[in-house]
Symmetry: C2
Subunit: 119 residues, 2 copies
Amino acid sequence: MTVGLKQIFAGGALAQDCPSRVVLDHVTSKWGVLVVIALDGRTLRWGELRRAVQGISEKMLAQTLKTFEADGLVVRHARPVIPPHVEYSLTPLGQELVALLQPLLVWAANNADTMLARD
Amino acid sequence: MTVGLKQIFAGGALAQDCPSRVVLDHVTSKWGVLVVIALDGRTLRWGELRRAVQGISEKMLAQTLKTFEADGLVVRHARPVIPPHVEYSLTPLGQELVALLQPLLVWAANNADTMLARD
DNA sequence: CAGAATCCTATACGATACTG
DNA sequence: CAGTATCGTATAGGATTCTG
């Protein structure tokens, strides 16, 4: 059974202890959004991913990938060769997420100029 | 003319200086998501909003509302009475945004248990 | 190549007190 | 009621160095 807005919003308030807040924090983190979108529909190696998400530091890339792997959004596939060859891709759950985040990025890109010009 | 993913994603990379990143940071901030969703389709006073978004501090509510007002997402309507009576509601642009954020919250609520159980 | 480890800074955020 | 001001802390995030 799926939960709707009505349950989340019981009594017109967003419950403080709702577990969705944790998920929301992972998923709407500064780099999280961009990493997931960069992986949409394709498999990338560590270095490729780092270049795809311009400006991300190694630390944040590692941290974001670990969180998302633990959350079951990203899958890590390491091939035992030298030099190391590691690939990252989205799980089906991750693909669900990216389908929700892409419209947000497109909307942000289309309205950024108007919004930021405003003062 | 509207911008699509192809332009945002030129060469397979998410440009570092894309203004959408700033908008994205506003809009995906910890409290921003919840405030906008709390205002969906209704007008709330300061105190009501504070109770609706459980756990938000006065500081963060004020800060979030100011940012969103400057971004043109939220409109502030103050009535010159004593005691003060101030109402907040979404602009049409804000309503566009909330339509994109709601599915994300619902998705988060539905997958939170699975995702967070996983380690 | 794909990270881990370390150190450091900025800022997001919270708690409390105060005010027109 | 609807904030502002101030202070303090936690953590997000960055830069650099090191390693199998």
